[in-house]
């Protein structure tokens, strides 16, 4: 008889932004079910079944706090989420008071820089991937002029700002950097018209949601834009396929490790199981498989951390384990010294993909330190 280890998820799984959280929660549930099926996870001398405790915060920071309180109540010490900046900032006091480590998908540096100590960035931040992408495109595709568009919401706007800074640091010319759109826009032609008229070589869709990306691409192409289009968020290939068809060819985005060049057997099986469980895979989940894996592997490395996050924090500095989702000898370890001055970020491969004919192909893989 296995004991139960509860891992929390606080994020948005209903309403307009549901897709952020749903893919997140599902990837956790898929992995948990799989591990349980294999007999559980052995941490120290006990074997645990993993239980995912989800909480839908409706993308409301006030709810997110309630969710984190609930996690504390349930004795959960490890939580994945929230999915957006404001929620991640709002839960910080609760997490720190109750000894909870949480893995937000939000980029504000204050969350990860001391004195903040309990948040661990669960993916690659755009201020890390952006420069890498722009640099690659500058060197390989001769990009000189960049334009940015973003939804007028906190997360995308922050991402645009750091994107612009990165581009300028690389010596690129930012020809349009202040066009925004409402997330509910149904026709992007008027939005993009002035951007395209500035004739950039690269159009960056800052923090674009998978729902808006195909429309934006399509409108840009239909307006006659022939340059490159990229984003630093994860995307879903089938959504691009349906929404923009071949117009989306060449679109550059950040992904996990599910492209054939990189995916290990574990990753392939993960995708299969996910598809079986929920009917359809969501490529966004690629980037979201890691948090749970990191939590479990770190606990394995230091079983005392199950009840005590200080132990967890101690272990983080030295922790290293094999990355099961990638081919080759990729490692799981904590990074972030450059960006945050402390190791508060999971090390995942910075996989830059290019969409082609309904699939992603890996353009290059980078590393974050």
């Amino acid at each position: 008889q296995n004991a139960t280890l509860k891992i929390g998820f606080v994020g948005v799984t209903s309403g307009p932004a549901a897709s952020w959280g749903v893919s997140n929660q599902r990837s956790m549930e898929t992995r948990a079910a799989w591990l349980n099926e294999l007999g559980g996870v052995k941490i120290g001398d006990k074997t645990y079944n993993i239980e995912i405790v989800p909480f839908d915060d409706q993308k409301d920071p006030k709810r997110a706090i309630a969710g984190m309180e609930k996690m504390a109540q349930d004795g959960v010490h490890y939580v994945v989420g929230p999915n957006v900046d404001d929620g991640a900032a709002a839960v910080r006091p609760v997490a720190e008071q109750n000894g909870i480590m949480y893995f937000p998908y939000a980029f504000p540096k204050e969350l990860f820089t001391a004195p903040a100590s309990n948040a661990i960035l669960g993916m690659v931040a755009n201020y890390q991937s952006g420069p890498a992408i722009y640099k690659f495109l500058k060197e390989n595709k001769g990009v000189k002029k960049v334009a940015f568009v973003a939804a007028n919401e906190s997360d995308p706007l922050s991402q645009r700002e750091s994107g612009i800074a990165a581009a300028e640091a690389l010596g690129l010319e930012v020809v349009s950097g202040n066009v925004t759109y409402q997330v509910d826009t149904t026709d992007f032609t008027p939005v993009l018209l002035p951007v395209i008229q500035a004739s950039p070589d690269l159009l960056v869709l800052s923090g674009v949601s998978p729902a808006n990306a195909p429309q934006l691409i399509r409108s840009a192409r239909e307006l006659g834009y022939t340059g490159l289009i990229s984003t630093e968020t994860g995307q879903d290939a089938s959504v691009l396929q349906e929404g923009a068809g071949e117009l989306a060819d060449g679109f550059i985005s950040v992904g996990g490790a599910s492209t054939p060049e990189l995916a290990s057997e574990t990753m392939t099986e993960f995708v299969d199981r996910y598809t079986k469980m929920f009917g359809e895979y969501n490529d966004e989940s690629n980037t979201k498989v890691y948090a749970l894996e990191y939590i479990l592997e770190t606990l394995k490395a230091n079983p005392a951390a199950i009840e005590n996050v200080d132990e967890f924090k101690k272990t983080m500095d030295t922790f290293e384990a094999a990355n099961p989702f990638m081919k080759g000898d990729a490692k799981l370890k904590y990074v972030g010294m450059t960006s945050f001055g402390q190791k508060r970020q999971v090390s995942v491969p910075l996989v830059v993909n290019e969409y082609k004919g309904g699939k992603f192909e890996t353009l290059f893989v980078g590393q974050v330190d």
């Binding site: 007028n152 349009s176 018209l193 006659g224 959504v239 929404g243």
Partner: protein, 289 residues
């Protein structure tokens, strides 16, 4: 310039069609249907399912959307709105019901159709390009024209058909309409079904261009509210005018104000508030809606 106007017209036609159904329901029942946007999204998903998943022709999908939504609208009216309107003391109470239905549809859409953005492949390919001055993909032109045809058909229906006349009468005075032999509960239901059907049709039409996702419902409702406010609540012509004006405002505003970035929508909304403060009943509304 031409491009801006063309964009505005296209957006306007699309918006006007969305606002029509909402204003119809509002004028008939005095219900501000918060769930209108969700109905639109539902329509889009139905078309998507029929066309992409079942592989049937687009027109079948469109019809399926219309029928599914009409049935849904009729049921919502008959089993939910009618009893609540009958028993509640204040008209506004239906807003809670409408909001509940909006949430419910959101939940149903998430469970049935998933969290992803869905789209139907273009129905016609190619882009009209008048020496770079007007660029407009053919599918948009087609949808724009279809939208305008639908609007015209709808107006004609409301004005010249017996059913249309009965619905207008119902909207203006329920008791008097009853005294003319109009079966109020039946025609309220038909009206609601018609409004919902329009929402479904627009969803079906636009899924080929903008796609749908479950998040679009709420914001779409809000936009539709804006349109009927600009034009005047409960007045069909007002809804149409409101749709075109909002479309034009967005198109012009986004171009003219693009240099100022983030404030485009701030300006649009603020000018809207000023406009309503000056003209409280919208362009064509009866005073006080």
């Amino acid at each position: 310039m031409e491009q801006i106007i063309a964009n505005g017209l296209y957006l306007g036609a699309q918006y006007a069609l969305i606002a029509l159904g909402l204003t119809l329901i509002f004028s008939l029942m005095n219900v501000l249907n918060f769930a209108h946007g969700q109905m639109y999204v539902f329509g889009g998903f139905v078309t998507y399912t029929v066309v992409v998943q079942l592989g049937l022709p687009f027109i079948v999908g469109l019809f399926a959307s219309a029928i599914v939504l009409a049935v849904m609208g009729a049921a919502i009216e008959k089993f939910l709105f009618a009893p609540v309107v009958r028993r509640s003391k204040r008209d506004e109470s239906t807003m809670l019901l409408a909001a509940g239905i909006a949430f419910f549809l959101d939940a149903v859409i998430l469970l049935f159709f998933g969290e992803k953005q869905r789209g139907v492949p273009k129905i016609v390919n190619g882009v009209l390009n008048l020496d770079m001055r007007i660029i407009m993909p053919y599918d948009r032109i087609l949808i724009g024209v279809l939208a305008i045809l639908l609007i015209v058909a709808f107006i004609a229906f409301m004005h010249y058909s017996r059913t249309g006349r009965a619905m207008r009468a119902l909207a203006q005075d329920k008791v008097a309409a009853q005294l003319m032999g109009v079966n109020v509960s039946r025609y309220s239901m038909i009206g609601f079904a018609l409004g919902a059907m329009l929402a479904g049709l627009v969803g079906g039409l636009l899924v080929t261009i903008t796609g749908v996702n479950l998040g679009m419902g709420g914001p779409t409702s809000v936009k539709a509210f804006l349109m009927i406010m600009i034009g005047g609540a409960g007045v069909i012509s007002g809804a149409i005018a409101g749709g075109f004006i909002l479309g034009m405002m967005e198109s012009v505003g986004l171009t003219v104000l693009s240099a100022y970035g983030d404030i485009t929508y701030l300006v649009i909304f603020a000018s809207l508030m000023v406009f309503l403060a000056v003209r409280p009943q919208g362009l064509m509304g009866k005073p006080w809606g």
